[in-house]
Structures are given as structure tokens and as C-alpha cells.
Subunit: 435 residues, 2 copies
């Protein structure tokens, strides 16, 4: 195990993280084409998902809380609410975020929905729309509206290649498409789930945008799906950080069509066990997808898991983990393979939690090696350890690292957060020497 990461390291991230095959949910067709938003004619820029199961599908979404919401966010969040989740399709363009584009932007987003619904013979307003890319410029809407029938009528399918094209078509500056699929069982019945995301690519005048959607053929009510998605996104896409910035376009959508059969899963007590299994499966799935976004963080050389334990609440555990994950001092120390527990402690100390939520005399900080070998304690019950620097350096040289912090409150609650290091490459990418 020890040398596995090192052996793999020279291989590109695309080789390592893009699947060669998958097991996809029943009753969906997907695809991606180039329609002319991006200049490069080989770059896919229009993605679609369509529920063709014959069953009605339900969707649930989490949108950015940024006060500057892009037009597709404004339109999609309104639509999913009005339709009570009765969504049959998703249309996404990359290359232009349709953000800060005024009334024309809203009209363009509406038109993308209208044309998609017509082409796919949906009832009106059954499509969610997303956009990612440059902000402050209007969409080349004619290219998109001409692309939609071409994609919807001739380029959708259920194969691995269709899913991969769909994942590619939502990318902007991502270095690889992020696609995950899996099968899981609930009470002997097998279901599938597949999804894709785009990550933290920000080239001027873009902003970081996190987009993703995933689909399952499990049967679930709108109410149950809402609860599951909120829980899962809290613990996945809302538990990752590349640089702490949150975009105008961030959107995650889950859709379920029940095409694999089985009893409808509700949030009621009768299906409590099924609900609980599905929630765990969706959370695990969303974490897999979210972690790929961190893997592809701009300039990232390290994948860092931050686990905060023994907090008074999940919320506070997450707040502390998030504060560490966003500390530039911590992130540069990780880039430098520097076992600097002081910077971790410092971030714990200024996290926005209650005055009794951290017990300085009981706080413990350890590195957990990625090869499963013994943890390395750095601080135990508030007292610095004599750290074996050679061992610390060995652990830190691995691509993957886990930092564990026990807050010593006796509360027993925990949370996990994922982040990457802050590197020269990050500065180079984002300084974007235009001038």
C-alpha cells in the first residue's frame, strides 16, 4: 500500500480518476455535444439528461446562497419549487455562466428550458437549466437553442460513453471530467446511481462554479429525496473547499425515477430503514463525486481530509474543520510538507464556535497516514509532542493525508471536510497575467 500513491503519481489525474466503464441507472438517456459556446470546436459545451423511463421522476436541488445569483439559478430554483420537484430533464451549458446578464439572461435561461421541453416532448417547465463559465457576457443563445434539438434528438443514450460525454460537456477549466456510478442494494433489490460534477476551475473573468447532478432508478418520494439530498450535500459538496470562494452558479441536482422498481421510499416510519440506507448510499455517492472536485482543485498537489471529533455538535465540528480547510497558513504548510500543528491549533482557536466548544487542555491533533500505518500525534491534551520529524515528513510526502482533531468537549459529535493545498500553481493560475 505504502508506495501505491507514489507509483500512481506520474500518471495523469484523468488516467487515475476517470472510470473506463460504469453501471448506470435505468430509464435515463444523457449526452454531450459541442454547440458553439466554447471557441474550441472539439470542446463539448452542452449537456442533457432525460428521464425516459415512462415513470414520472422527482428532483431535488441545492443552489448557491450567494446574493448574486446567476439567471439559471434564479429560474431553476423558482421552477423546481413551483413544480414541487416534478422534473423530467436537465440542460446545462458550459463556457458561459449567464451571470450578471440582466433581463436578457433570464430570458435566455427560460428559452433553454422551453426548447428542451419541446424537443423532449415534456410537459411545460419540466427542465432545470444550469450554466457555468465566463460571467458578465450574454449567452450565444442561438447556438445553444440550435444545439438543443441536435443533442436531444440524435445524441442521447445510456452507454458509458454517453455519460462520459455528458460529464465532459459541463467542464470548464477542469483537468478531467468527474463521473461516478455505482450499484447498491436496499432489502435485496439492486439499484443504480450515476452522476457528474464540474469543479473549481477559475480563469478570468470566470468564477469558481460547482455544478453537478446525479440520477438514480430507486423509487423515492419528493419529500424523502429533499431530506436525503440536503443531508448528503451538507456532508459532501458543502464539506469541500478549494479556496473558500462560493460562486453565483453553484447547483447540485438529484433526480429519481423509480425505474428499477421496488416499494416507494418515504420519510415515514414504515420505510425508515429503506430511507436510512438510501440516505447513506446517496451521501457516500455525493462524497465520491465531491472528492473528485477537490482532487482537481486548481494547482492542488495534495488531497487532505480533515476530521474533527468530540465536538458539541455536527455543525460545530464542521465549522472547525472548514476553518482549518480555509486557512492559507495551513494550506501552504501542507504544500511545504510541514508538520505545523501550530497553524492547525490557531485555526481551531479562531473558528466561529461557542466559547465552551473547544477545550484547549483536552485538544488533540494527529496525522493519520494514508497507508493505514500508526497515527502520528502532534499535540495530546493541549501539550505538544516531541514529533519524529522524519516520520512526519514521510507521512506528509504522500499525496493523501488525514488530519484528525479532537476538541475534547465530551460531546462526541464529528464531521469530515476535504480540501487541497495552496500552491505556487494556484497563484499562477489565478493571477492570470493578462496585463
Amino acid at each position: 500500500m505504502r508506495t501505491a500513491t507514489r507509483l500512481f503519481a506520474p500518471v495523469s489525474k484523468a488516467e487515475r480518476f476517470v472510470p473506463k466503464l460504469g453501471s448506470y441507472p435505468k430509464g435515463y438517456v444523457v449526452g454531450g455535444i459541442h454547440c458553439g459556446v466554447k471557441k474550441n470546436k472539439d470542446a463539448l459545451d452542452l449537456a442533457m439528461l432525460h428521464n425516459v423511463s415512462g415513470n414520472p421522476s422527482v428532483a431535488s436541488a441545492v443552489f448557491t446562497t450567494n446574493k448574486f445569483k446567476a439567471a439559471p439559478v434564479q429560474i431553476s430554483s423558482k421552477l423546481i419549487k413551483e413544480k414541487n420537484g416534478q422534473i423530467n430533464s436537465i440542460i446545462v451549458n458550459s463556457g458561459n455562466a449567464n451571470a450578471v446578464t440582466g433581463t436578457q439572461g433570464l430570458k435566455d435561461a427560460q428559452d433553454m428550458i422551453r426548447v428542451t421541453d419541446a424537443v423532449l416532448e415534456n410537459t411545460e417547465d419540466s427542465t432545470l437549466v444550469m450554466s457555468t463559465g465566463v460571467i458578465g457576457q450574454n449567452l450565444p443563445i442561438d447556438n445553444i437553442l440550435q444545439g438543443i434539438p441536435r443533442l436531444g434528438l440524435s445524441n442521447l443514450g445510456a452507454s458509458h460513453d454517453h455519460w462520459l460525454a455528458c460529464a465532459q460537456a459541463i467542464c470548464t477549466t477542469d483537468t478531467f471530467p468527474k463521473l461516478v456510478s455505482k450499484q447498491f442494494e436496499i432489502k435485496g433489490k439492486t439499484y443504480s446511481m450515476a452522476g457528474l460534477a464540474k469543479g473549481a476551475g477559475m480563469i478570468c473573468p470566470n468564477m469558481a462554479t460547482l455544478l453537478g447532478f446525479f440520477a438514480t432508478d430507486a423509487p423515492v418520494t419528493q419529500n424523502a429525496l429533499n431530506q436525503i439530498v440536503k443531508y448528503a450535500v451538507d456532508r459532501s459538496f458543502n464539506s469541500i473547499s478549494v479556496d473558500g470562494d462560493m460562486s453565483t452558479n453553484d447547483t447540485i441536482v438529484a433526480i429519481a425515477n423509480g425505474a428499477a422498481g421496488g416499494d416507494l421510499i418515504d420519510a415515514s416510519t414504515e420505510t425508515a430503514e429503506e430511507f436510512s440506507i438510501l440516505r447513506a448510499e446517496v451521501t457516500d455517492f455525493a462524497q465520491q463525486l465531491a472528492k473528485l472536485v477537490v482532487r482537481d482543485g486548481e494547482g492542488a498537489t495534495k488531497f487532505i481530509t480533515i476530521k474533527v471529533t468530540d465536538a458539541l455538535s455536527y455543525r460545530e465540528a464542521k465549522e472547525v474543520a472548514s476553518t482549518i480547510a480555509n486557512s492559507s497558513l495551513f494550506k501552504t504548510a501542507m504544500f511545504g510538507n510541514d508538520a505545523n500543528w501550530g497553524r492547525i491549533l490557531c485555526a481551531v482557536g479562531y473558528a466561529d464556535v461557542g466559547s465552551n466548544s473547544v477545550n484547549p487542555q483536552r485538544t488533540t491533533v494527529s496525522f493519520i497516514p494514508s497507508d493505514g500505518s500508526e497515527p502520528l500525534p502532534l499535540l495530546v491534551n493541549g501539550e505538544p509532542e516531541q514529533v519524529d520529524e522524519a516520520r512526519a515528513s514521510e507521512i506528509l510526502k504522500e499525496e493523501d493525508l488525514e488530519v484528525q482533531i479532537s476538541l475534547g468537549t465530551g460531546g462526541g459529535q464529528e464531521a469530515t471536510f476535504w480540501t487541497c493545498d495552496l500552491t505556487h500553481e494556484y497563484v499562477t493560475i489565478n493571477a492570470d497575467y493578462r496585463s
Copy 2:
């Protein structure tokens, strides 16, 4: 004016920002020596201030809110409270922060106070103690306790050189000592104020520590001084950011001995005008000192002023300004001379303020050139401007830049924040390639 910054640029920051002379307050002696905390024998590491006016002096302090408080912070904050501000001296060591040092650390901090009081013939517990430097290691306390009489009995004075030595002795990785002095008038009476600070130097396993103290010969009550210092620190040391991290040792102290005479300034209505003038003078002074800390931010090539106007409250204006100042995307764009209003808008949008505290349709973003020429609007009432890129590039190439954001709420409140850019040099310094 235009080329002034460029002409000065090749000159070192020390040449540009360290004064050659000053006007110092009456009734204080100060100094700095090498006592043996730092390895380099030429590096000053022990600083002292002593009120020798014969008047009792009052002090007011603001301490870090980090939950991991260094021993000197724990001791000094308790002492100043118990003594109701009756403080006669300050003792500071650099090179070791006396943080995460357990009961020995508390004893060492107490001993520094005890020996200083004895040497200076103060009544007991009349000294505040501060430390900055490495964390997790006990102080070389014998060296310090032997240094205190040498400093206190033979190396204090009121000259410019004494003040400069004092400023040098609190530095760690600062590239220049930060010393400011000024005279001001209240109702025809002339007073002086002088002070020093150390900034954001973080070399492993140090943490960023902001320390500073300033002294005036104006006559002011403890109660009035507390109010003035809180107001001034909010608008100066608490309105700057290098990387958003807050240390275990941050401490700012103000001391006043009334040695220049005049009527005692209280917070009562009788002296409301004097109070108001003094508060403005102290705020301006603290801002000068705080700005020097930003000038010396690690790896900084730019000094950026962020002014948020037309907010619903001062607190919200400051929260928005602080969010922009801490955005890695914004800071790298500034390093890259990139007029990326999208990143500014994005940070405004996720600032932790109320849902009606930003009006997206009325938000305006402009660059204010440092040479006093016409502002360059980037976004007006939520609509992107056609930006003259050549002009933007010209403005951004200057070392100093102001970004102004109007939130368009109609509230009319404003706040100013100072920060620097995020550079390759920052990553290099903080990655600290130990391994």
C-alpha cells in the same frame, strides 16, 4: 504624482517606511536590547516601555479572541482588569511566543512582570507582558530575567533611537520595524503620541502575531481610553488582513500618562468635544500603524484599500470589506493586475450579512487610482461596464490601489479595510520547505 510609486519602488521598504526622526510623548522611556531569545546576537529581542512622568498612567488593551491564548495574553488580560488599567510599564520579548507552554509558561510570564516591576520600582503588578515568536517551546526565561535589569536600568531613554530600538526588539520576521509618532492639538494644547507594532511574519513553527503598543501624554480617564481604544482598534488593527489567520498572541495596548498637562478628558458630556478629537487622533494613529503591518505582509507587492459604502450598518460594511480582503481569488487577481470585478462581486455575494444588506441591482464597483485621477467604474448598478483594459492595467500596476464598492442599500454606512495581494512569495515563505 503618477510616477511617484514607481520611482520609489526599487527602494527598500525599510528606507521608505521607517522614520528618521519623530516627536515623542513626554514622560516615557523606552528601549530594546538583545537578551538571548533569538540566536542571532545582533537581533534585538527584549523591549520595554516605562512611564516616568510621575503621573499615574492608565492603559487599555485589546487581546486576541483566539481560544488558544498564549500565557502572556492570559496573564496580561487578567492583570489589566484587576488593576483597572493602572499600568506603568510594558515588557515584550520576541523570538518565542510563550504559547502552548502549560503551567511553566504562565509562571514565566508572571516572572517577567515581577522582575520588571522590581527593576523599575513599580508597585506590584503594574506591568503588562507580551511575547511573539515560536510556539510550543518554553521561554529561555533565565536569559530574559537577566536581560530585564540590563534593559530597565541602563538602556532606556526617550530619543528617536530608543524608540526605534524598542520597535526593532518586538520584530520577528518583519522586514522593517514599524514606528509611528505624531503631534496633535486639542483646544490649543499640543500632545504627542508614539507607538510601534509588529506584523504578519510567519515562519514555521511560528504563527502570525500582531503586537503593538502606543503611548500618549494626553490626559484621559481609564473609561474614556477604553472606549477610544476599542473604537480605534476596530477601525485599524481589526480592519487589516494579510491572510485572514488570527494568532494566539495578538495584543494591542494603549497607555496615557497626561504628562503634557491640560484638563482630564472623560467620556462625559463636558468633555465631549475633546473626547471626540482624541478618538479621531488615536484612530488615525492606529490606522497609520496598522497600515504598516499590511505594507509588510508576507510576500506582498500591493497595498489595497477596500472601501464599502452605502451599507445598512458599519458592521455590515466591514463584514463585506473583510470578505473581499480575505478572498484568495481576489488577492491573486490583484497580484496578477487583473481587473476581475467578478471575483469582487462573488465575495460581496457570500459575505455573511443579511439578505437585504446587498442590493444586486444597485451594486457599483470601481477602482480608485492612487494618483487622484478619475475612478474607473467596473460595474454600475449591477450592470457590467465596458472596461478600458489599458486604463485598468495602468491603475493596477501601481503599488497602491483602492477598490470601492457601493452596496446600494440606501443605508449610507461605510467601512474601510486594508489588505495585500496573494503572491508566489507568500506561498514560498509559508510552505517553508523544511523537508
